[in-house]
């Protein structure tokens, strides 16, 4: 028994189960490039498809042509640059953030139904939005986006702080339950406000749907900056997260500083999920879903699983946004709703066919 374990560990500390072979590596690299190609195609489609369809040539002109007196070209420039490009960029950025965050939180908590909202991030963001609307009467997303981010970050910090009082620090179960406790409390406060304040209820119901449309680059660039920092931290923890999944004792014996790893991972998750939620509203289920699909595609090695989950998240969010533009013309269905409506049946079918393993 112990001999088997030793040889497996000796084959490389973070290699996971039988992941060292060159064939497996090649297969995973191929998969990764397929995902990148899919993302590129969906980005192109996202720029071209909408209430007014554009040809690839027109998209190109809209993106790169110099300002021109021509009326038609000005219109195309306007559509591509101020409407389609921001939502496309945001879909990519938020999709990656939620995918990576979802995979990482499942890795940290070892719970297969952990989602990016688990640390109270979504509840905190909603609370932030509702509070400033009720107090200051803000109406535009540009105004309350930052309060959403502050709310998300604050609840993430509180959850982690509460879970790490004492030396039982960063125990995954404590973290999960503290997250639930804080989320429950914040949700109650949010409901209490919306029950008495009609205006914030009205804003919250649109906010809750989760969409990548409607915010400009003024919001997107700062959000992207937070997400990039989160991604760097997330990628840095991956080898250690692999070891954590062998159990705390094994990880400690292999030289992992458990408290530091969990702290960094949780800061990363809060940044990723908080920034994405602030810009888009709560997009539930995306992180959970792509984390399982990524685990099915790559196996349990988080160094592969997390990048896969990030790219899958971006592709899925982008495709759902495009579908949302097409199904209820001339209106639009919010991407967050499409994610659940399309993703849930697909995911349930995969679960039923026994494709997934426990985190």
């Amino acid at each position: 028994m112990s001999a088997v374990k030793e040889t497996r560990l000796a084959s490389g500390p973070a290699s996971g189960v039988a992941s060292g072979s060159a064939a497996a590596r090649r297969r995973r690299l191929t998969g990764l490039s397929v995902l990148v190609a899919l993302l590129a195609v969906s980005v192109a489609a996202s720029l071209a498809i909408g209430a007014r369809s554009l040809s690839p040539g027109e998209v190109w002109q809209g993106l790169f042509a110099a300002p021109d007196p021509d009326q038609r070209l000005t219109e195309i420039r306007l559509i591509v640059r101020t409407v389609r490009l921001p939502r496309t960029v945001l879909a990519v950025v938020a999709g990656i953030a939620l995918g990576v965050g979802g995979a990482l939180i499942q890795g940290c908590t070892r719970n297969p139904i952990a989602d990016t909202g688990l640390l109270g991030v979504n509840a905190g963001a909603s609370f932030g939005v509702v509070t400033v609307i009720a107090l200051f009467g803000f109406t535009s997303p540009f105004q309350y986006v930052w309060f959403a981010f502050v709310g998300a970050a604050a609840s993430g910090v509180v959850v982690f702080g509460l879970a790490s009082i004492g030396r039982g620090a960063g125990n995954p179960l404590t973290l999960v339950l503290a997250g639930q406790g804080v989320a429950v409390f914040l949700a109650a406060m949010t409901t209490a406000i919306t029950l008495s304040d009609r205006q914030s209820l009205n804003a919250l119901r649109f906010w809750n749907a989760g969409t990548v449309a409607g915010v400009g680059f003024r919001v997107i660039w700062p959000v992207t900056a937070f997400i990039v920092v989160g991604l760097v931290l997330a990628l840095a923890t991956l080898p250690a997260v692999n070891l954590l999944n062998l159990g705390d004792d094994v990880a400690r014996a292999m030289g992992v500083n458990i408290a530091v790893t969990r702290t960094v991972a949780i800061v990363a998750i809060t940044l990723l999920a908080g920034a994405a939620t602030a810009a888009c509203g709560p997009i539930a289920f995306l992180g959970l879903m792509v984390a399982h699909v990524a685990r099915y595609l790559t196996g349990p090695d988080y160094r592969w699983l997390v990048p896969y989950a990030g790219l899958l998240g971006a592709v899925v969010l982008m495709v759902c946004d495009i579908v949302g533009r097409l199904v209820v013309r001339p209106g639009e269905l919010d991407a967050g709703i499409v994610v659940a409506l399309l993703g849930a049946p697909f995911f349930a079918a995969l679960v039923w066919r026994g494709k997934f393993r426990n985190a």
């Binding site: 509460l162 949700a187 409901t191 709703i337 659940a340 039923w352």
Partner: protein, 356 residues
């Protein structure tokens, strides 16, 4: 395995005919205290209101004595509401404990099995979409009954979808999570497209409330809860060994597939009863088993204690909402505002103790 592992049980067992259990004084003490607390909060809740009635008079009236006027206020006006709180709390607590035990996941609850979201989606549909069919349904059977059907239907759907040569905890919660997400998305979409006045009405229903409960709804809920709890109590002795896994349970003579099916069905129906009596009160089923586990200091969600914690939480929150707060809030908001922080407090206390 060395033979030092085989030792005498630390805690003595009690055997009464065919029934046997381990004697755990702390467990029994806490459960008795919780039962006493439930009774106390129940009586306080009946006594509080525009016409306050002192505790001794409430108790006297409940046991058949009391003055005529007290009898009228208590029996006709206040008792239905308090009983509704009791039933909903018990049902949600037990239902949550069963679900978390079966799924072996502290995040599992009837909410995760789609019952709450299914009921919510149907209710919001009826409340926001005005027009022929929905108005007719809402008018003829009532929103609560239709929502109950929606919740039970969703629970059944999850069960059927998760069935593949038996029920597996992991598959069950993943399917449940996806169906819940689907129902949640439908609700969100309906709320985002509806008229804001309807949205406010739907919001009140979604939070869960005990306002204006009459004997009609309470009698049905009380009777069905008693039946379901009896079934749960009967299966509970077979249920406990299942925490060790299917193989060990089978080795101990438990027909685990049957027990699991019965318990799951009871959990779904109990959650449904709660929805019909108070609307989809969120989070109670999630929080109470975890609180009960920490109070009783037992490694798995305790069934009786969870139910009692649920009852105390629900009746107590209703009492607080009616008396202590300056604004009237539905009970669902107060349960969450009290239950969430209390769970966090227990966690922090447990963590502190680990240092010593």
């Amino acid at each position: 395995m060395s033979d030092t592992d085989i030792r005498r049980p630390v805690t003595p067992g009690v055997r009464l005919g065919r029934v046997s259990f381990v004697w755990r004084p702390w467990n029994v003490l806490v459960t008795l205290l919780l039962a006493a607390a439930t009774f106390l909060v129940f009586c306080l809740s009946i006594g509080a209101g525009d016409f306050p009635i002192a505790l001794p008079r409430v108790i006297a009236t409940l046991f058949g004595g009391g003055e005529r006027f007290d009898r009228f206020v208590i029996m006709d006006l206040r008792l239905p509401r308090a009983l509704a709180g009791l039933v909903v709390g018990l049902a949600l607590g037990v239902s949550g404990a069963i679900t978390q035990s079966l799924a072996r996941n502290p995040l599992a609850s009837p909410d995760v099995l789609g019952i709450t979201q299914g009921a919510g989606a149907v209710a919001v549909l009826l409340l926001t979409v005005s027009g022929g069919t929905t108005a007719a349904i809402a008018g003829s059977v009532g929103v609560s009954a239709a929502a109950l059907a929606g919740g039970l239907g969703t629970g059944l759907l999850v069960y059927l979808l998760a069935w593949r040569r038996g029920i597996d905890g992991f598959r069950l919660i993943l399917i449940g999570v996806s169906v819940s997400a689907l129902m949640q998305a439908i609700t969100t979409w309906l709320l985002a497209t509806a008229d804001v006045t309807d949205v406010a009405r739907a919001q009140v229903w979604l939070v869960g409330s005990l306002d204006g409960r009459s004997w009609d709804t309470v009698t049905v809920a009380l009777a069905s809860t008693l039946v379901l709890l009896t079934v749960v109590a009967g299966a509970a002795f077979q249920f406990r060994p299942m925490h060790f896994g299917d193989e060990v349970a089978a080795g101990l003579g438990v027909r685990y597939a049957v027990v699991r099916a019965v318990m799951l069905l009871c959990a779904v129906l109990l959650a449904g009863v709660a929805v019909s009596a108070a609307g989809p009160v969120p989070f109670v089923a999630l929080v109470t088993p975890q609180v009960a586990m920490r109070l009783v200091r037992c490694p798995t969600p305790p069934l009786v204690a969870s139910g009692l914690v649920g009852a105390v939480l629900l009746i107590g929150s209703d009492l607080v909402a009616r008396t202590a707060l300056p604004v009237t809030l539905p009970v669902g908001v107060v349960t969450a505002a009290i239950g969430g922080p209390f769970l966090v407090y227990l966690l922090v206390r447990a963590n502190r103790r680990q240092v010593v």
